[in-house]
Amino acid sequence: MATQVFKLPKSLKGDVKYSFCPGCDHGVAVRLVAEVIDELGIRENTILAASIGCSVTTYDFINVDSLEAPHGRALAEATGIKRARPDKIVFTYQGDGDFASIGLAESMHAALRGEKLTAICINNTTYGMTGGQLGPTTLLGQVTTTSPTGRNVEYYGYPIKIAEHIALCDGTAFSARVSLDTIANIRKAKQAIKKAFEVQMSRLGFGFVEILSTCPTNWKMSPQKAHERVRNEMMPIFKPGIYKDKTSQN
């Protein structure tokens, strides 16, 4: 008798075609969020404020009520949802461009207000959906379609360290950076995502996880090489870790 040990979380839709590129970490990240929602037993009480970019189609896969926000405004819409329905669990799932470039004001202020929200931000050092342009997290030296000779400080300035910035906001209850490059790190990532939801549920404050992620298509790498890049190039700059955890301060 075979025992089923791996199955589709209830919080994912089984009957849809996933539109992420092969090898992209978005698929893993969305699945982790869905597993956490399942484990916390909150699916029927959860609302997603979706974003723009590769993450836009998340609402096609995730099996919770969803509202599409304009580019960068997910945390404003999430704030509106949560203030209108404080009993709901509300989260955003955004890319780094959405969260930390066009939406930086909304993101920082949601954290500063200590909104009881959870924000998941995928950092893949590029604007994926539009074809791999330079974004707020593009590393120094990185070649993109709008930094053809690599990111240099003179023209482009520096990449933003999102998890550290969000940790600085007094309203933030939890801020962490995780990666999905190994099984062990995927497990850690899930724990962080769970915590980011738990701080919302216990009304401690804003919960945030930055997920270092691959973009094999725009990086023009195999998934395996892409994970090596996460390890060798991204993790030394964007160091994984927990930058704030109010649950452990008490």
Binding site: A49, D65, L67, E68, A84
Partner: protein, 355 residues
Amino acid sequence: MTTQCLTNKKVLTKGNYAIAQAAILAGCQCYFGYPITPQSEIGEFMSGKMQELKRAYVSAESELAAINMTIGAVSTGVKAMTSSSSCAVSLMQEGLSYATADQLPVVLVSVMRGGPGLGNIYPSQGDYFQATKGGGNGDYNLIVLAPSTVQECVDLTYKAFYLAQKYRNPTVLLADGLLGQMMEPVEFYDYPYPEIDTSSWALTGAKNREARIIRSYAPLADDQCVFLKKLFEKYRIIEENEVEWEEINTCDADIVLVSFGSTSRNVKTAMKMLREKGIKAGFFRPITLYPFPSKRLKELSKNVKKFVTVEVNMGQMVNDVRLAVNGACPVELVNKGVGAPPSAAEIVSRIEELI
């Protein structure tokens, strides 16, 4: 002044406070806003009253955030609003376009000031186009209501919440600095409209039903064509049912003065003065700027020799009157760029020059 309590008796109050108080009586559960003159009293009033009533209030970090917070709140089926003015309403155009595509009952109070750019804080009607033609992308209409007195600020705030929910379309209460800042006696009363059931579409958690998605993204061209057809069928119904206007002395009028909002008071007076001089003048005031009372203007154009719109802008509504009349008779403009409306005497003398 900011602490004036909810009451049914006649009170002297500013247009801005009247709007805020009416919104509360209409059952507005959430207010999101960023200060800008000449409408800051709305947010000031709301900050105290909403907390007192245990409703939601957020000092948004920007108008971008404020309109999107409002979208978030109304997506859950509650009544919510934001308020702003001119150059800051510009920042909300993206959100309004999304809210229209998402079919969400956002209520925006737009208290016009001078423009373009930073302009100034004086009254203006320079955002007629902004409200009725939209600055957001794509094909859409906002329902636009234009109060002309402080009492109408109350009446039309109620109506804005009702129409927004009835048609699931963003609705704008288009006031101006004059109305926002002036005081008049008003009477508040209970919300006079039926409550709209939002349970068939609101995001409340996918319990015992399929998960809902409120979205505007339609990757396939055909899907978008179907959606737009549906959206514009809704607008046809709105145009059929919700047009509202005021008209006086139009039955025998040779010349009809057309104005909206706070300018109308002076224009009505000018019409009376023209009558006293033996000129057969009439007065016509669109109350809904969208849907615009085009049909009625077209009817009137059969017997009217001339329409004159009076506006505090460089000539905006005049275009809609011309479209409605469609060449049946001349449509002229008497205007002033910005500030309190031209005096009745000035309107009279400028109209005498036209005839």
